[in-house]
């Protein structure tokens, strides 16, 4: 038996031994992996196709800019207001956390904090919604602000981790340069490190915004009673918002309701896609700028 494992040097260079079997296995693995990748892309394409084909007929000027029953303008505006407020709260905190992780925390402090951020990021958003519901809504009434708080909790770990990644890319040599000039650390951070990493930080924030725009569960618990006819900018009152309205429209069970739900979904997904793709392009550009 052992003889057959040592190929005869003069034999032709065709597969011998168990090489044929290994080649078949290798090919099967390749086909399986490729198939899974195609499936993932396929699902995305099918989802987007469905949303576009069913939502597009609903899109019109009135639909986008007028209130109920003609359109969903208040909901779109409200979503932007809620997300803007939540990002205004989450971005500074997230960037400061990232600065703490990269500039001040030793490896002993950074590890647990990173784990904490990842755990918050993994929390089901319905649980965050329930938490904020108990904190701010129960016995007090729904408000856009409560929704914004819940969304901010979702955004903080995304911004912190994303910003941290870019801050780590800022070359050590730049920090050494500013240290060697006898300038205090916080000034170096503020005027050299942060500006250098700004492109990436903006990207991380945009990605977090894209995620927050589509979060439904927290809003269903915190900002679910509103007047769909009224454009509102008052964050401390009820604000119409898109995710909850999509939910309500599809609960109606009417033809018009479904069509409008798809239409509003299309608006949201276009925003998310544009934001994500734009952010990624921006990130790629600033990474290239850093590494050059």
């Amino acid at each position: 038996m052992s003889d057959s494992r040592i190929p005869d040097p003069s034999a032709p260079l065709t597969p011998s031994g168990n090489l044929r079997r290994r080649q078949i296995f290798s090919r099967l693995t390749e086909v399986g992996a490729t198939g899974a990748a195609v499936l993932a892309v396929g699902v995305l394409i099918v989802v987007i196709y469905t949303i576009v084909s069913r939502g597009a007929p609903a899109i019109s000027f009135d639909f986008l800019f007028k209130g109920y029953p003609d359109g969903v303008g208040p909901m779109i505006l409200g979503t932007f207001v809620i997300v803007a407020v939540s990002t205004a709260m989450a971005a500074p905190v997230g960037v400061l956390i990232a600065l703490f992780l990269t500039e001040y925390a030793g490896s002993r402090g950074a590890g647990p904090l990173r784990l904490t951020l990842d755990l918050i990021n993994g929390l089901p958003s319905i649980i965050l919604g329930l938490f904020v519901f108990n904190l701010l809504v129960n016995h007090k009434g729904t408000s856009g602000f409560a929704g914004a708080i819940a969304l901010a909790i979702i955004e903080v770990p995304l911004i912190a981790r994303g910003a941290q990644e870019v801050l780590l890319l800022v070359p050590k040599a730049l920090r050494e340069a500013s240290d060697a000039l006898g300038v205090a650390r916080w000034r170096s951070v503020l005027t050299v490190v942060l500006p250098t990493a700004m492109g990436g930080i903006v990207t991380a924030t945009v990605l977090a915004v894209a995620r927050a725009v589509g979060e439904t569960a927290p809003l269903i618990l915190t900002d679910f009673i509103f007047d769909p006819k009224k454009f509102s900018l008052n964050i401390f009152g009820e604000i119409p918002n898109a995710p909850v309205w999509i939910f309500k429209l599809s609960e109606e069970g009417t033809e018009k309701g479904y069509q409008e739900a798809w239409g509003l979904s299309l608006v949201l997904i276009v925003f998310i896609l544009v934001a994500s793709l734009g952010a990624r392009a921006l990130l790629g550009r600033s990474k290239r700028k850093l590494s050059s």
Binding site: L174, E176, L181, V183, R187
Partner: protein, 318 residues
């Protein structure tokens, strides 16, 4: 330099006590007063000289900027440097040469406490800077670096404009008056002004490697430090850029005390007044870097006292 440049403000009364233990009480006649450097703190009353008569050949004791005594440096359990005693003289260029891993850069970086943030860093012995312990308990390392500037091996300009690279530190240190003038002075000092005066607003990253390194030197001298530490400043540059940096060092000599680490022995021979030779020695169980010999550069290269120095400078090392 402009009239606002005043090195004496950084000087300290303690400088008046020479730290090398020689001639502490010897009055120095005014005609042999130290010419280089700041208005000599070692002045004596012009009249009423009552000390012993001093011969014509009297040499004033060298004024030490750094006086390192018995320096040992550890990174965790690993000893990088053992028992280095070395004085750096005012207004001169001192070169540190030696093979890789002998602790030259480690020693250089310990002079302005750039090693502090390295995990496990520990230092033995004492480094006196104008008589003050650099690692003293009430010493702020930001202040140390304010006075002791550093230029690194790889040019590391900020991703900002040429002007902002120079102006950044003065702005942050509150030296906002006459900023344009200060930037120009620094760029002229680094022999870069003529090449960049028409594009001060352009990004510094668009400069060539040699220009970037001179920009880094300009950035360092813009805050008028007392000492410049250069860590292999030309090792990443081509010969022409290297020559420019060496010329620059000659022109900066006297205004600044310069310590340069270099792998290039010819460079040390060309630019340095004094040269210190470091090497790896196996005295204990593991080899660590140590100082073998320090002397006038000409002596080190022509007639070194130690055979190890001779082997190294004649290229027979290893």
């Amino acid at each position: 330099m402009t009239g606002s440049l005043d090195y004496t403000s950084e000087q300290d009364p303690m400088t008046s006590a020479p730290t090398n233990g020689q001639g502490e009480n010897q009055p120095v006649p005014s005609r042999v007063r130290i010419q280089t450097g700041p208005p000599a703190p070692v002045t004596v009353p012009e009249t009423g000289v009552t000390g012993p008569t001093i011969s014509e050949s009297f040499q004033p004791p060298p004024q030490l900027v750094f006086d390192a005594q018995g320096i040992g440096i550890f990174y965790g359990a690993k000893q990088a440097l053992t028992d280095v005693t070395l004085g750096i003289r005012h207004g001169q260029i001192t070169a540190l040469i030696g093979p890789s891993g002998c602790g030259k850069t480690t020693f250089l970086r310990s002079l302005n406490r750039m090693n502090d943030t390295v995990p496990g860093f520990r230092i033995e012995g004492q480094i006196l800077y104008h008589g003050h312990d650099v690692y003293g308990s009430n010493v702020d390392r930001v202040e140390v670096r304010r006075r002791i500037g550093m230029v690194f091996q790889k040019p590391n300009p900020f991703p900002k404009s040429i002007y902002d690279n120079i102006a950044w530190a003065p702005r942050n240190l509150g030296l906002k008056k006459g900023l344009d003038e200060r930037v120009e002075t620094a760029l002229r000092g680094a022999a870069l002004w003529d090449e960049v005066k028409d594009r001060l607003k352009d990004s510094a990253l668009g400069l060539s490697g040699g220009q970037q390194q001179r920009l880094c030197i300009a950035r360092a001298i813009a805050i008028e430090p007392d000492v410049l530490l250069l860590d292999e400043p030309a090792s990443a540059l081509d010969p022409i850029a290297t020559a420019a940096i060496e010329d620059l060092m000659h022109s900066l000599k006297g205004r600044f005390t310069i310590v340069i680490v270099t792998h290039n022995m010819q460079q040390a021979a060309r630019v340095a007044d004094r040269t210190a030779f470091f090497s790896l020695e196996t005295s204990g169980e593991k080899p660590t870097g140590t100082l073998i010999e320090v002397d006038e550069t000409a002596k080190i290269f022509a007639e070194p006292r130690d055979p190890r120095t001779r082997d190294y400078v004649s290229g027979r090392f290893g």
